[in-house]
């Protein structure tokens, strides 16, 4: 009995190949030695944790890394997020947070410019998992708020 044949749409929409790939081989995982800003965030009901480190110079996110633990969705989302914001201006990064949130509300189009992260749009159909996907993007949003100047 294969689960995919029972529920071809729902589960494969949630756990897309690219998501599982980021989960198994996370990009930008680890700490950043001298971050411009770093933040710890957790999801108190389920124990997902993330620490996000950003290196920002001349208004551009030069580097982004994360550490922490959690489910496949939260870990893949963090990996995709760090990949997506590297090289972007602070204003662009803010726009990406906004787009990701809109995508979690069901607006797949909004997620198009987010790179691999657009694959997470299926999470919007699993309301209890949305907070897993959002965690790293909320960490990004708060980090950007804390940037000096």
């Amino acid at each position: 009995m294969s689960l995919e044949s029972n529920h071809p749409v729902r589960l494969s929409e949630l756990y897309r190949e690219v998501i599982m790939d980021h989960y198994r081989s996370p990009r930008n995982k680890g700490e950043l030695p001298d971050p411009t800003v770093s933040i710890d965030l957790n999801n108190p009901t389920c124990g997902d944790e993330i620490s996000l480190y950003l290196l920002v110079k001349d208004g551009v996110v030069q580097d982004a890394r994360f550490s922490g633990q959690g489910c496949s969705i939260s870990q893949a989302s963090a990996s995709m997020m760090t990949q997506a914001v590297k090289g972007k201006t602070v204003a662009e990064a803010r726009d990406m947070v906004d787009r990701f949130k809109r995508m979690m509300h069901g607006d797949e189009e909004a997620g198009r410019p987010l790179g691999d992260a657009v694959a997470l749009h299926g999470v919007s159909k699993f309301p209890v998992r949305i907070k897993c996907a959002l965690l790293s993007w909320e960490a990004l949003e708060r980090s950007l708020e804390q940037l000096p100047g």
């Binding site: 689960l3 995919e4 599982m20 198994r24 124990g47 959690g70 969705i73 209890v128």
Partner: protein, 409 residues
């Protein structure tokens, strides 16, 4: 023994499909499902005799008051409280514990005193004591725990000392399933003159409880975990202690006379039941108690014991599955499957119509002790069957396959 199929017919919610499969509900430790008789009792109160209690001089009010006080007597009998006036209705177990933390602990603890708590508590029997310790200068001290998650009782006299003023301990763990030898602990505590509070949130629904035999001073539990409605919980306390305590909340119903500058408190239990209570829920809890008494708590316990032993044996056959907690336990199993995060597990099982709990179960210190960020938990009640366990096990196999497959392992 319990006729499970007959019991299942009493629970309307169980008769439904979830994601195309018949629902398997394995999350009763979070909240139990309600038998029709409880739902109808609540409905009848609102449809036939909705009125405030203890105030109305009219037929509806009289009937509501009678049913409300009847529920108190039922609950008192259910836990073998010596008198119904020592049964106080609150919102839930959390509020019951906080009532003691405010009305008793803040007036009876001082610097140098110790509160002994176990490291396997639900947050609701830990955080109130952290707050009380901060407010009074008392210190928290912890029981030791064995490798499999039992509270060590061979060194009780080292932990409970002359400095101990309060011991707060769970009767049954919501994570590890551990049944705590409360009687032994209460005996050791009372010899040192300490007051004992027992968190019965996970025991009262599942086994016979006798607060007098346990030898404790306070006993707290929630209605919603024992087939009753949400919004009602119970604090039982020894009369001498309750009578000497200040009220928790001030307001209507809890006074005997009020002037502009001071008031006299009403007698027990009303001193601790300020404001309009959750009347429907209290009366509904009375119906739940009747239902459980009808089944017999010995039978409820035996049914769950049989089920949990079956579940442990079947789960052990699943490759890569780790079970946490002691062999002898209440009706729940907490586990992890390989490196699949419990959230992912819960999502995949949900696609199969199976409801389990995933997360830290409001017991972060227990998670830290286990060395895992989160766990999955399947918990059983009177309406669960061996087929439910089989469905769970099949779902876990599917999850292994799915994760192996998608991850390209």
């Amino acid at each position: 023994m319990i006729d499970v199929q007959a019991v299942r017919r009493d629970f309307p919610v169980l008769d439904q499909m979830v994601n195309g499969r018949p629902l398997v509900y394995l999350d009763s430790a979070a909240t139990a499902q309600k038998p029709r008789v409880v739902i109808e009792t609540v409905e009848r109160y609102y449809a036939e005799y909705n009125a405030n209690v203890h105030r109305a001089i009219h037929a509806l009010g009289e009937r509501a008051t009678i049913r409300y006080e009847e529920a108190r007597r039922k609950v008192a009998r259910f836990i073998n409280a010596p008198e119904p006036e020592t049964v106080i209705f609150v919102k839930n177990a959390t509020e019951a514990i906080n009532l003691v933390a405010y009305s008793w602990a803040r007036n009876n603890l001082a610097e140098g005193d110790e509160i002994v708590v176990s490291p396997i508590e639900h947050h609701s029997n830990l955080v109130p004591w952290q707050l009380a310790a901060k407010a009074t200068g008392a210190r928290l001290r912890f029981f030791e725990v064995t490798e499999d998650g039992r509270i060590r009782t061979d060194n009780l006299d080292d932990v409970i000392t002359e400095r101990t003023k309060l011991v707060a301990v769970t009767h049954a763990s919501n994570v590890l399933g551990t049944i705590v030898p409360v009687k032994e602990i209460a005996y050791a505590a009372r010899r040192k003159g300490a007051v004992v509070l027992v968190d019965g949130a996970q025991s009262t629904p599942h086994m016979p409880v006798d607060v007098q035999a346990l030898g404790c001073d306070f006993f707290a539990f929630s209605g919603h975990k024992m087939l009753g409605p949400t919004g009602v919980g119970v604090l039982w306390g020894r009369r001498e202690l309750l009578e000497n305590m200040e009220p928790f909340l001030g307001g209507g119903d809890m006074i005997s006379s009020v002037s502009l500058t001071e008031s006299r408190w009403a007698d027990l239990p009303y001193k601790f039941e300020a404001g309009t209570p959750n009347i429907a829920a209290v009366i509904g809890l009375g119906a739940a108690v009747d239902y459980l008494t009808g089944l017999g708590m010995e039978n409820v316990h035996a049914h769950e014991q049989q089920l949990v032993q079956y579940a442990m044996a079947e789960l052990r056959k699943v490759p890569g599955l780790t079970i946490y907690g002691p062999e002898h336990r209440g009706g729940l199993v907490t586990f992890n499957l390989e490196d699949i995060h419990p959230h992912d597990l819960a999502t995949i099982l949900n696609e199969e119509g199976i409801a389990i709990r995933a997360g830290h179960h409001c017991a972060e210190p227990v998670m830290r002790w286990l060395g895992v960020p989160a766990t999955a938990r399947a918990s059983f009640y009177v309406y669960n069957t061996e087929e439910d366990v089989d469905r769970l096990v099949a779902g876990l196999h599917t999850a292994r396959e799915f994760f192996g497959h998608v991850a390209g392992k």
